[in-house]
């Protein structure tokens, strides 16, 4: 798409889409939204970029090999456990540290769950982007 107006508007709007997605991901454990929706929003920002600026520029931003990361996302869960241990809690006290699935009405801090949410959101965003890139690529 070779239109100056569209390019300028996408340049202006994209940072706000990123900001919105980041907000949803970081507040996923405590407010409406969730890491899946946040990751989808951040992924759709890159998809918009791909439509407007072309595949070559977008592949420079998000290379293909990022879509093949699988273990690294699962390691987010392990990372959360290690962070809890290094904060000085016992492994059996995950609930006190806040890194635990809480029941309704529990008074615990849920910020630690953001670590896992970041991993899930990353995976969702990358999957969406690579799906779209594969779709586009076969034309050439």
């Amino acid at each position: 798409m070779d239109d100056l107006i569209v390019k300028t508007i996408i340049r202006i709007v994209t940072p706000f889409i990123y900001l919105y997605g980041t907000y949803i991901i970081l507040n996923a454990s405590a407010s409406p939204g969730g890491s899946f929706a946040g990751g989808a929003i951040m992924g759709s920002a890159i998809v918009l970029y791909t439509i407007v600026f072309g595949l070559a520029k977008a592949e420079k931003k998000v290379p293909d090999r990022i879509g093949k990361l699988k273990r690294e996302v699962l390691l987010c869960f392990v990372l959360m456990a290690f962070v809890v241990i290094f904060m000085g809690y016992d492994v059996m006290q995950l609930r006190e540290a806040g890194a635990y699935q809480i029941a309704y009405g529990d008074k615990v801090q849920v910020e630690m769950l953001s670590l896992v949410n970041m991993g899930i959101a990353f995976k969702v965003a990358v999957t969406l982007i690579s799906l779209f890139h594969v779709f586009i690529k076969e034309e050439h």
Binding site: G34, A40, V47
Partner: protein, 79 residues
């Protein structure tokens, strides 16, 4: 609130019928995006903001883009 609900559901039904009746696939996709938007508002009114956010991001955003990418590869008018 009750009247707004009824109007939205009527709009939803009209959208669903129009998607089925339209021969131009690009117009059908645009109507389907508006269907998703109304569905997101309905989820919000049913006190499910989680689902509303996901519907707005996936239904109105990503699905539309993927369908348009599909239409760009095939012919535009249904026979």
């Amino acid at each position: 609130m009750e009247i707004l609900n009824i109007i939205l559901i009527l709009f939803l039904i009209v959208c669903a019928l129009a998607v089925e009746r339209t021969k131009d696939l690009l117009s059908a996709i645009i109507i389907f995006a508006s269907y998703s938007l109304v569905m997101a508002i309905l989820w919000l009114m049913l006190m499910a903001p989680d689902i509303a956010l996901t519907e707005a991001a996936i239904g109105a955003g990503v699905t539309t883009i993927l369908l348009i990418a599909t239409v760009s590869r095939i012919r535009r008018v249904e026979k």
